[in-house]
């Protein structure tokens, strides 16, 4: 199947919703895909979500069939817990070196039985749970992880820290634990590359004036998402971290560091208005006698059925929208007091809240700088990958054969990420077909 002018085989970097979609669209058209994901398993941020706007579909329920499809696709070669380390060559023939991080588990032997995770005595804060839940030192991101293979985190493993324990090694029925494992490198040759490295959230440690990190009942949107999730640390019950009580007044603050060139980023993060409306709606569904407040600057609900969704939040669920910025957040008598201004009435507002949820800005993946250098791509002023031309070439880069999908290019929501990933896949497929690869042509 080798084409005349290039290798009809693609590398997709990042296996969130954009990367998975690009990989599936390419693989389903008959071409091989090498899919590299830094996390131990695929699915990206979408797997952390409880429900999705505007239909309130369960995120895991709609996504896990996709992760399974990717995991079992005969034409997708999956490298998780791995990163792209070096790229040489040009469109048609890129030589890619992939660094595989040591999992300290031999995945060829591991059956994913989960015994090691059950018995591991070391617990630490879970990144997947956004820090509001715990995981073991040997862990998978979720019970539905694809692949269903655990990794050992040396920073929390008792053996790595103190030189003894090895409980997982003793219990593993297939002798898959390997504390001697080292990072390895594999080489792959591909003809085209899709960058789908997604986004990260603005570090909450740098949100001092909102009390983030200091006041336990101030959460980020992603942490609140985990509280809402049926598979999250509270099994979907909304309980505030400080005392485990059900919060009766919740304040949601939008544009935390977004649209804020002085202290944060100048751009709009595009997804926060909708997910905050979703958060407030879901909160009201779980705590009908509670009150939700949303501080906003502009409500941006410009998608299919989005405006209608906001209207329902206001009119049916009684979510109170307050147009204005928050000036101060502080703890007082077991409450989190929020001071803000209502710019429509011109009056100051003070709310003694039980819980505060921050819609923090979307920022580029922290690895984007390194990866841009590896790929020879440019980033824009905000650190997102730069497209060749904003209007007509949003999936293309300055390097032929390298394309962009999803939030790696700029913040976007799930349907926009899926559509753009398909667009990037189409660019790849067109190249491959021109090189003479792929199945039958013509009528």
């Amino acid at each position: 199947m080798d084409g005349q002018n290039g290798i009809p085989r693609a590398l997709v970097i990042g296996a969130g919703i954009a990367g998975m979609q690009a990989a599936l669209d390419i693989a389903n058209a008959g071409f091989e895909v090498v899919l590299v994901e830094r996390q131990p398993s695929i699915g990206g941020h979408m797997l952390q979500l409880s429900e999705t706007f505007p239909t309130l579909d369960c995120a895991q329920c709609i996504l896990t069939p996709r992760t399974v499809e990717v995991g079992q696709h005969p034409r997708i070669r999956l490298y998780t817990y791995a990163e792209v380390d070096r790229v040489e060559g040009k469109a048609g023939r890129f030589r890619v070196r992939i660094r595989r991080l040591p999992a300290y588990v031999n995945w060829d032997l591991c059956t994913g039985c989960g015994l090691c995770q059950e018995k591991c005595p070391a617990k630490t804060s879970s990144e997947f749970e956004g820090g509001v839940g715990l995981r073991k030192a040997i862990y998978t991101l979720s019970p539905q992880a694809v692949p269903k293979k655990p990794v050992i985190d040396p920073a929390s493993c008792i053996y790595f820290l103190r030189g003894k324990c090895r409980a997982c090694e003793k219990l593993c029925p297939t002798k898959a634990i390997d504390f001697e494992q080292r990072e390895t490198f594999v080489e792959e040759e591909v003809g085209a590359i899709v960058v789908a490295t997604g986004f990260d959230l603005y570090p909450s440690a740098e949100l001092g004036e909102y009390g983030a990190g200091k006041i336990p009942d101030v959460l980020t949107g992603l942490q609140f998402e985990r509280l809402l999730s049926a598979s999250g640390p509270t099994a979907g019950q909304i309980l505030r971290p400080s005392d485990g009580r059900i919060p009766k007044e919740v304040v949601f603050i939008q544009c935390v560091r977004s649209r804020d060139p002085e202290r944060g980023v100048p751009y709009c993060s595009r997804i926060c208005c909708m997910y905050t409306a979703k958060h407030a709606t879901l909160y009201k569904h779980r705590v009908p006698d509670g009150q939700a407040y949303i501080f906003y600057i502009d409500i941006r609900s410009a998608g299919k059925n989005y405006e209608e969704f906001i209207r329902r939040a206001m009119e049916e669920d009684g979510v109170l929208y307050i147009r204005g910025k928050v000036s101060r957040v502080f703890a007082q008598d077991g409450k989190v007091v929020v001071w803000g201004a209502d710019t429509l009435s011109g009056r100051p507002v003070e709310i003694a809240a039980d819980l505060v949820v921050l819609a923090t800005a979307l920022v580029p993946d922290p690895d984007a700088h390194r990866l841009a250098e590896v790929l020879g791509l440019e980033l824009d002023a905000d650190g997102f990958f730069r497209e060749q031309e904003a209007n007509l070439r949003p999936m293309e880069t300055d390097r032929p054969g390298i394309f962009l999908a999803g939030a790696a290019q700029s913040p976007k929501d799930i349907p926009d990420a899926v559509a753009q990933a398909g667009g990037a896949a189409a660019k790849v497929l067109t190249l491959f077909r021109k090189w003479g690869g792929g199945g039958p042509s013509g009528r």
Binding site: D25, A29, G30, T52, P54, T55, C61, I62, L63, P65, V68, Q72, T111, G112, C113, G114, P143, A230, Y267, C268, S269, R270, C273, D298, R300, G303, K304, N305, E307, R311, L344, F384, E387, A390, N391, L392, R393, P394, M395, S410, P415, D416, V418, A419, Q420, A421, G422, G423, A424, A425, A426, L429, T430, R433, K434, G439, P440, S441, G442, R443
Partner: protein, 570 residues
């Protein structure tokens, strides 16, 4: 006697944490026609699938029931495993004891265990009566029809054609380029619309794989994915005859949008006062070689009021949705105006400023700070002429004061609505739309470029209002789906479709009107109803409608369903 194997998955603790899987296995081992039952930690894992394959061989099984998660997750996995052991994949059934049992009954493990055994027994009864079907194979026409020659349609057509497949591109008007060709400049870089897409138009016109039909529309559509037959006819001529049918395998709908009719905007003075114009009118005025002149007297307008959300976000008088593009194009128009008339003043009435794209927020900030465009948050109450001016009354909701601006020109950002005739086209193509006439996607999150009809895909504003980069992305996404479809050697289809027990069919034809997919017809010679399996989506409407119970669905027969119900012990 059948020999059914039952494979019960623990799903780690997802099932086994609530359901006593060994008790379920024990109960099933005693059940008639079950030859083998076993549990395993993760049945979907490679060792789990191997276990199924080996058991089929060792125990001479002729049917498989996997009690595990929802069939949406792993039915394909287990059917593949069953097929690899030499059985028909269609004798493998999934008993959903996770989503429909363990996850929802965590508080009552004893009853969950009883229910899990019950669910599994029902699927054993179904498997006992399953036929060893084989997948149906259909021919595939590797040629695409793209409807609409705007940006979305051109982009989709080019992607498919560049990949080497023939494309029939149909455009109702007499030129390519759609709305973009009418723009004086696009955000963010102000390049003129016609220049922006000139290269695309040349590429479409010169492409050897693209067959272009201007001033043409779709007259009718028959067939199904991979095998559509479409007839075209001259656009806007109701009396004209449709042409010979063309065969295409896939269709991309890229019919774009229109603007809310100015004639229905009485309170803004649209149509009555010459200096009240639509956004699209203003684009043309901006591009005029004579410079910007207002329609009434040809003078240069020194005060221009832009009104956003005209009938958008307005469920009472207009449309409840947001038109997505107006905030940005209004900012762009105001900035272009300031370039042409530097000493002029531009005002923008808005509700919320929606600038949520790459560089968009910065663009609007520059409009305010560098170009001095005055944004007023509020609705416009009245527009009326006075002394050669058009006076705009509105409220500034931030100061709480009433604003009165004697403007030289008023520009209305009217709502984006589906392209004229979209509803009729949808009916002709048998594709679903939303209540406004935008084409419905198969899933709002994960399948935004697919329609609900197999083989018909969506690109651009035909699905919902969107701007140029989002349209380009979506058009590519739709093209990728077509490329995937065309890459198959042959098209396969599920064999679990409707069939007719001809001995008891009276040929009454009730099933024909019941079938929403036009898969039913009468064989006149034999006087019985028949099914076109390629069109049947196994919805069961004919089964319910048939007065003689002659209509059945393969592997979902009435006998099977009754036996499944009788297997329940709860």
């Amino acid at each position: 006697m059948r020999r059914i194997g039952v494979f019960i998955c623990h799903c780690g603790f997802n099932i086994a944490g609530t359901v006593d899987v060994e008790t379920v296995a024990e109960a099933l081992r005693k059940y008639p026609q079950v030859a083998y039952a076993i549990t395993y930690k993760y049945m979907c894992s490679q060792p789990g699938q191997d276990l199924i394959r080996q058991a089929i061989a060792e125990h001479n099984l002729d049917g498989v029931v996997v009690a595990a998660c929802s069939p949406a997750m792993h039915e394909a996995t287990f059917r593949k495993a069953t097929a690899s052991a030499g059985l028909s994949p269609y004798v493998c059934e999934i008993a959903n004891i996770r989503e429909q049992c363990s996850w929802v009954h965590q508080a009552r493990p004893d009853q969950a265990t009883v229910k899990a055994a019950d669910i599994t027994r029902t699927m054993v009864e179904k498997a006992v009566r399953d036929e060893p079907l084989e997948a149906l194979s259909m021919p595939l026409t590797r040629r695409a029809l793209v409807i609409g020659g705007g940006l979305a349609g051109m982009e989709a057509a080019l992607e498919v054609a560049e990949a080497g497949y023939p494309v029939v591109l149909v455009e109702r008007s007499d030129c390519l380029g759609g709305k973009v060709a009418k723009l004086s400049g696009v955000y963010l870089n102000f390049s003129a619309g016609p220049e922006l897409i000139a290269e695309r138009i040349r590429a479409v016109r010169g492409h050897p794989k693209i067959e272009l039909h201007l001033s043409t529309e779709v007259a009718s559509l028959e067939g199904y994915v991979g095998n559509f037959r479409v007839r075209l006819k001259p656009a806007g001529r109701p009396d004209s005859e449709a042409g010979e049918p063309l065969e295409v395998g896939a269709i991309i709908i890229a019919t774009g949008f229109d603007l809310y009719p100015m004639a229905l905007l009485g309170e803004y003075g649209a149509g009555r006062y010459p200096d009240v114009v639509s956004g699209l009118d203003f684009e043309r005025m901006l591009a005029s070689p004579d410079g910007l002149r207002r329609p009434s007297d040809g003078t240069i307008p020194k005060e221009v009021v832009f009104v956003q959300c005209v009938r958008s976000r307005d469920p009472e008088r207009g449309l409840p949705y947001c038109s997505r593009i107006c905030c940005m194009y209004t900012a762009k128009q105001a900035r272009l105006y300031k370039r042409l008339v530097p000493d002029g003043q531009a005002y923008v009435f808005y509700i919320d400023i929606r600038s949520a794209g790459k560089g968009y927020e910065e663009f609007v900030q520059e409009a305010m700070q560098e170009d001095g465009i005055l944004y007023l948050r509020g609705r416009v109450a009245r527009v009326f002429p006075q002394g050669g001016k058009t006076v705009v009354w509105g409220a500034d909701t931030l100061t709480g004061k009433v604003v009165e601006i004697p403007a030289d020109l008023v520009v209305l950002a009217t709502a984006a609505v589906p392209s004229e005739g979209a509803m009729e086209l949808a009916q002709r193509l048998r594709v679903a739309t939303d209540p406004y006439g935008f084409f419905s996607e198969a899933h709002p999150k994960l399948r935004p470029v697919e329609s609900l009809t197999a083989g018909i895909y969506l690109a651009g504003a035909a699905q919902a209002p969107r701007d140029i980069p989002d349209t380009i992305a979506m058009a590519g996404g739709a093209a990728a789906k077509v490329l995937a479809l065309f890459s198959q050697e042959k098209m396969t289809q599920e064999p679990t479709v409707a069939y007719v027990i001809e001995e008891i069919c009276s040929g009454c034809g009730v099933c024909i009107s019941a079938c929403p997919y036009e898969a039913r017809s009468i064989d006149e010679r034999r006087g019985v109803a028949v099914v076109n399996p390629a069109l049947c989506q196994n919805c069961g409407a004919c089964v319910a409608a048939c007065p003689n119970k002659a209509a059945q669905i393969r592997n979902w027969t009435a006998d099977q369903v009754i036996a499944m119900i009788e297997a329940l012990e709860l």
